[in-house]
Symmetry: C2
Subunit: 672 residues, 2 copies
């Protein structure tokens, strides 16, 4: 036989511990969470034969503090899978692993509970129990009173003067069970691999976004047909109104000088008129490039004034990072190597052959990767220096993915608070890999998931499969996206989409004009007519509000609900429930009491009629355990939309009139 | 900005390459294959934007020989997933990784094919193509004729005297395409991680197993009611008959001395009679333990005689490794620490509380792990020394899993040809982890998958999800398993189960008596009445054959089909097809011509009526591309069961009379 037998090292420990979660690509990338997030940790663990085990999660927070969390079996449908929820409250890198151990006391209890009533092995079974109790009693790390109690148990187990049933009862009494649960006898302790969770600041995962074009706010058409642009000073007047609607983040399209060459006119016309401002995404002119501010918007000082006003209103400002250039961008002269030069000496336009976009030069990262990436890094640092901590990245999927991984990690190494949002609409692998590369948030196909079955699939994927690496920012519209659902769904469609976006996930977004029910598309496109990308679009928000034609009060209600209900600010706590009607979507968000600052569980049930043209009556079947309630219980729910109250149970009649209120947002009152 | 910017290392390369397959637990365990197996290798690979890429698999065989295999995209339902089949022909550790590269020529072709017909950028587009052709032509590693051809292409692309269409045609001609495919222009080359495939000898994954109790063969009841046991000498007479049925492996239940203490009698009776031989799994008596031979079976020399006869018949012999002891086992005296001693000083019996199995002492691996594991290692080495290369392991899930990982790797380090089969019927995680720990084969729940939908799910899981780590040996019965399907399905049930087991996977097994249609169970159990585990069961195979009451000719036909058709000796090449009838199961096994020794593709279609009580008429809808055929084609199939021939296409009528022949096994004749 082998002399060097122990040269074989095993992957498995004494107790197998496999497939830890959260985990991204087998640990290749760290899992993500945001500060304040309640994360399900899971592991597959089992022992040979029938003996019982216990499993703990060992968490190491960024300050080096270690905590231990006991796992429970996840139920008969997932045999050998164990789980526990844990709150990750501080940003930074957390480490976790699992430890499993033979639970000799639980094993003995299970055997004794079968043998004693059957009259089998009475004496020796109690002797075995007594030996375990004695071992626990001898553990000097236990409190004295506990050790005395364990001695008493030992004596009771060995007391042949009492009936076996009484001796078994002594082994089952609550204090002993508590002792053996809290400080179990640990044998065959086995450790799993260690995995990382990168915890980002809360805003990386939680927030209400509002997008607007600063040049439109306060823009005025002069009598001669020319325009006076809105500026950072006029746009700042909008900030308190945005804050009053409850938004947290204001996202601005690019604020840089706009090129003149092949500038696009209204409705993407190939030729712009003299007074057309051009698309903010055609970045760069003689006035400067990505580190400059469009003179029409003001100066750096005006921008800082705007940032200051935002801060006063409790708003963060997110800037756009669109890595492309107008032919007028200074880089074209200073760094032609950052573009693609054709054999005829010209620079290649952006194109989707045979179509060409002559207002845009795409960047080429392969001629001078180091030069270009450090220039981008410099630009990002420039805006960070002015106080920007969030970047919405335009079309990241058209740039090399390892560039983003480098950029985000390099920025976060110095500025861990900086958040990047990926605006990629592409194939699943591309979008998922951008998120794995480090993007803290991502756009998603949410806007095109409108039926009940589409939404059920999307929300399940978002809150489970993606949660460790990909966070969808649920924008209801963007300057590029006006879905058919909004075009043709009427005002109820706007409520439905906003209510789901604001409550299903912890981060959602609205592009200005949504609250005015803007719904007219350029014919044949899922895009706004007279798109703000190419022209000034001043809006009269106040008049709409006064005439009752504004959704702003509804959006305000949604953001207030998010503020009041911590369950709505979590990602992974979504449960789908069943409704008999195929247009009535039901989900709940539940935060157990132990994770709530108030000390009380927070539970919200959303019931949405996703058919904006109809009245639906149906029965909702709730999984009440997912609400943290006991089966069979009745409880009060209050609709955060209307203030109405109902007495609910596992089975409830609902009537949702899309033309009145298409969505119930029901807060569950904890039964006393 | 960061001075030490390049301190950030990225997981992603220039072209992302993620989720390589085959892979087990993110590379924690090596993937498995068997020598001669055709394995699908897959990777997710894509580039930013719209430029095209190519991907190669780089395989390093155990001798250090490197080969390269071009991957293809796996189709629109799996965007960005690439795959290629590769034959792993030698046992040992193979390494693989993927390399991706920007395919500038394919990118240019795709652009030119759009721009030239549209009349856009004619001159510069051909200049770009010419530059690429010139670059290829300058590559001195290319053959001279090829370089000349590339020069000609360059000239043709630049020849403004010809029409653009003609110049584009020059870029599309077959020889150029072949050159640019076989030796592409490679840019931005990126390598994936390296992964391992442990390739075992063919028998680890391919084989027909036959199980029998040697003591039954030639056993004779004496007039006084006592028995004369069969011996290795009498059992050897059965070997040529087993070989004639086409089996490869003979598996023997334990051949060791059997304990007397609490020996079980017929039908698991608690008390055995004087003449009852006892269960071979109650191992150990004063005559010896796991390294000894039961005196009734003969001596070591008799065993070697048996092995010699098996070898002459082309059969391998598999022994049972059942790590447990009768109370009479020598270990009980010499190593009581290998068992569990109770507080009363007795050794613990096997039990399922409150039930006890007093004929068995289970081993305890935690008192003296090193002592016990080296004793097991010694025993395994003992049998290897006598010529055994296959062990069927009894109940491995009741022993620590890391023990098996150690044992198998330690044995295989010295004896890579040794194969272990896990007889574990347990929860999925336990069975899967035993396979990951190293078991080359596993029993499975195949015997209880009898309906069409159950079988479709099982066969898909087996041939795809499990294939890299868990190989199911499809036993149709065992001494422990006589399913209700066989009890009540009549003779057709035996044909159906054998046909599916023999053709769906590359390794299957039969326990002696199956060919005699033995189907009577102990009442209320899925187990044979008068189980051979507890008594002698001599059988008259010859008489059954003579009277037409034997399934042996059918089993022979099945094994001959397996010998003749290499597609049936593969695991991962199974495709399900659709039949309108919910009892008609259809699958095919296809081996492309390039992997067949004959140089011709091998394709077998199995159509099984899994309802043994019925006649079914239905339409079979074939995915003809999965058969390696062109859509719309007609082809001849020959039924290996009856020799009948039909002309088939994508849609075929079938009639399967369970009482005549319930299963078609159709060989596809390649259309010329």
């Amino acid at each position: 036989m082998a002399k060097d037998a122990d040269a074989v090292t095993t992957v498995l420990g004494r107790i197998p511990l496999l497939e830890p979660a959260p985990e991204v690509d087998g640990g290749l990338f760290p899992a993500k969470a945001f500060a304040g997030e309640v994360v399900p940790f899971e592991i597959t663990a089992f022992r040979e034969g029938h003996d019982l085990i216990g499993v703990d999660l060992v968490l190491l927070d960024p300050a080096g503090q270690q905590t231990s969390h006991r796992l429970a079996k996840l139920g008969p449908e997932r045999p050998d899978r164990w789980g526990v929820l844990a709150l990750l409250d501080a940003p930074g890198e957390w480490l976790f692993r699992f430890q499993a151990w033979a639970d000799e006391w639980a094993t003995w209890r299970a055997v004794a509970d079968k043998k004693i009533p059957a009259g089998v092995d009475i004496a020796v079974t109690f002797q075995e129990g007594a030996i375990l109790a004695e071992r626990a009693a001898k553990d000097t790390r236990r409190p004295k009173s506990e050790r005395r109690h364990l001695e008493d148990v030992r004596a009771a187990l060995l007391n042949e003067a009492t009936a076996p049933e009484a001796r078994l009862a002594a082994a089952s009494e609550p204090r002993l069970t508590q002792i053996m649960t809290e400080r179990p006898l640990v044998d065959l302790q086995t450790l799993s691999v260690t995995r990382r969770v990168q915890v980002e600041r809360a805003r990386a995962g939680v927030g209400s976004w509002y997008e607007f074009f600063p040049r439109s706010i306060g823009a005025k058409k002069r009598p001669d047909g020319s325009w006076q642009s809105g500026t950072f000073r006029t746009a700042a007047l909008r900030l308190p109104e945005v804050a009053a609607m409850g938004f947290d983040v204001v996202y601005l399209p690019p604020i840089h000088p706009i090129g003149r060459a092949f500038r696009k006119g209204p409705n993407n016309a190939l030729v712009a008129g003299e007074n057309d401002p051009g698309s903010p995404w055609a970045i760069g002119s003689p006035e400067g490039g990505h580190d400059a501010i469009h003179p029409d918007l003001g100066t750096v000082e005006d921008f800082q004034f705007f940032l200051g006003k935002a801060e006063l209103s409790g708003l963060e400002v997110a800037l756009d990072l669109a890595l492309q250039a107008s032919p007028d961008h200074p880089w074209v002269q200073s760094h032609p190597e950052w573009f693609t030069t054709l054999p005829d000496g010209t620079i290649a336009y952006a194109e989707n052959p045979p179509k060409k976009y002559q207002d845009i030069y795409p960047l080429n990262f392969d001629n001078d990767y180091d030069g270009l990436r450090h220039e981008v890094r410099r630009i990002v640092e420039h805006w960070i220096g002015l106080g920007i901590k969030i970047f919405r990245v335009d079309n990241p999927h058209t740039k090399p993915l390892h560039f983003w991984e480098w950029l985000i990690h390099d920025v976060n190494a110095q500025h861990p608070e900086v958040v990047f949002l990926a605006e990629a609409f592409s194939r699943p692998a591309v979008m998922q890999t951008l998120a794995k590369a480090g993007f803290q948030q991502s756009y998603s196909y949410f806007t095109w998931r409108n039926t009940k079955s589409e939404l059920e699939e999307f929300l399940t994927t978002m809150s489970r499969d993606w949660a460790a690496h990909y966070r969808a920012n649920l924008f209801v519209n963007t300057p590029d996206i006006l879905t058919e659902y909004l075009q043709f769904g009427g005002r109820p469609a706007f409520k439905i989409r906003a209510a789901i976006a604001a409550t299903a996930g912890p981060v959602w977004g609205v592009y200005s004009g949504f609250e005015l029910y803007e719904s007219v598309a350029r014919p044949g496109a899922e895009e706004y007519i007279d798109n703000e990308k190419y022209e000034y679009r001043p809006r009269d928000f106040a008049r709409a509000l006064a005439s009752g034609d504004s959704l702003a009060p509804y959006l305000t209600m949604l953001n207030q609900a998010r503020d009041a209900h911590p369950a709505l600010r979590q990602l992974r706590n979504l449960t789908l429930h069943r409704a008999d009607d195929d247009a009535v979507l039901v989900y709940s968000k539940h935060l157990p009491a132990r994770f709530a600052r108030s000390g009380k569980a927070d539970t919200v049930i959303v019931v949405a009629n996703v058919d904006p043209h109809s009245v639906r009556e149906t029965v909702v079947h709730l999984d009440v355990e997912a609400l943290g309630l006991k089966p069979g219980i009745e409880f009060e729910v209050r609709d955060l939309v209307t203030g109405q109250r109902w007495q609910w149970s596992a089975r409830n009649y609902v009537r949702l009139d899309a033309f009145y209120e298409p969505v119930h947002i029901l807060h569950v009152k904890e039964p006393s």
